[in-house]
């Protein structure tokens, strides 16, 4: 979370903003990030940062894997074993779900 707030401060500076009103994070289900722990860290760190008062929104990206035999992607659901729903084949080719980043920021400007 600290590195996220650093990045937000830099981005705000680049846009000439002194505050941020909304932070949208994009987090994959395989990123190994616990949303509750992240929100806890945010609530601890944000008030004394550029993000004071900002809304934290988390977009969850579901895991998707690719089945080579069927040449298609499929939603991988929970767990670590990715079975193609069409052919039952196993896949280790992860195409989505490892995302961890800041998707969008909104800066308010004083009139």
């Amino acid at each position: 979370m600290e590195s996220a707030l650093d990045a937000i401060r830099r981005e705000a500076g680049a846009h000439g903003a002194t505050r941020v009103s909304r932070i949208v994070l994009r987090i994959g289900t395989l990123a190994g990030v616990d949303e509750d722990a992240l929100r806890f860290a945010y609530e601890a760190l944000a008030p004394s940062s550029i993000a004071a008062g900002a809304v934290l929104e988390i977009e969850t990206v579901p895991a998707r894997a690719h089945c080579a035999a069927c040449a298609r992607d499929f939603g991988a659901g929970r767990g670590f074993i990715f079975t193609c729903p069409a052919c039952g084949g196993l896949s280790g080719d992860i195409r989505a779900g490892r995302e961890l980043g800041i998707a969008r920021l909104e800066f308010p400007d004083s009139p």
Binding site: E11, S21, R22, I81, G92, G101, P108, P111
Partner: protein, 270 residues
């Protein structure tokens, strides 16, 4: 044929929107209505006059933790030197050091190797792996249960890597935390020994999921232990279908040729 594109309905950047009424002023006199104005209004902290402007920026900044940045630096350093780095991970006692001893004595005679070995305490493994033809650095982590990219960067500077084609990184014996720490390796090798349960891959999936190669070790004693190799292999395949599997015994030498072929191919790519 070419229909003109309809005019955009979103306000241009810099347009002021009255958060209370949704009226837009500034770059355009168009007033906003409907869900968009509600969305924007909700996103804003209105000034006392109720008039603010908002800039929503799609930034798409990946949050690389410090370790990942250092790992990428290591990867570039290793590739720049033309050496293949392997990160060997397993439970304590799965046979990482014994595997490396034999590998240095056979494969290491023709292809120059180096080893960075991590343990919480003692330099026992560093001493066991010490060979005149292969530089070794022992990393003692104290209380830390894994190696991280910063430790590797420092340890790699401490030995002479001239002419080295294969760098083995023997991680701290632990099947959990090392999974989360990229060291900048080209290949992650997970060892599963026949003295463990066949279902280890199902119990500790993240580390197996991240494996390029799984070595099933101590296969010479599998039968004595009642270890079912086929069950273990099936479990590895379920969790890590991407990984190659080689069955080895560092004692009898079974499978070692295949392991050396793997190393040779990896070094050729580096």
């Amino acid at each position: 044929m070419n229909n003109p594109t309809p005019p955009p309905t979103l306000p241009e950047p810099g347009v002021r929107i009255n958060a209370l009424t949704g009226a837009a002023t500034g770059g355009s006199s168009r007033a906003l209505s409907g869900p968009l104005s509600a969305e924007i209004a909700a996103a804003l902290t209105a000034s006392p006059s109720g008039e603010v402007s908002v800039r929503a920026v799609d930034v798409n900044i990946p949050l690389l933790e410090k370790n990942d940045i250092l790992a990428e630096r290591n990867r570039g350093y290793f590739l720049g030197r033309g050496l293949a780095a392997l990160n060997l991970v397993s439970s304590p006692g799965a046979g990482k050091t014994t595997l490396l001893e034999r590998t240095l004595d056979e494969f290491g005679l023709r292809t120059k190797c180096a080893v960075l070995v991590g343990d919480l305490e003692t330099d026992n493994d560093g001493q066991r792996l010490s060979r005149p033809h292969a530089p070794v650095a022992q990393i003692t982590t104290g209380h830390v249960c894994h190696l991280d990219a910063g430790m590797i960067a420092r340890a790699a500077q401490s030995i002479n890597l001239d002419g080295v084609r294969v760098l083995f990184i023997e991680n701290v014996g632990n099947l959990v935390c090392p999974a989360s720490f990229d060291l900048g390796e080209q290949a992650r090798v997970v060892l599963l020994s026949t003295t463990e349960g066949e279902d280890k891959p199902l119990k500790y999936p993240p580390i197996f999921k991240s494996a390029h190669l799984v070595l099933l070790t101590k296969v010479d004693v599998a039968d004595v232990l009642g270890f079912k190799r086929d069950v273990a292999v099936a479990n590895i395949r379920r969790v890590a279908p991407q990984a190659r599997i080689i069955q080895v015994s560092s004692r009898t030498g079974e499978g070692m040729t295949e392991w050396y072929d793997y190393l040779r191919a990896l070094a050729a790519q580096a």
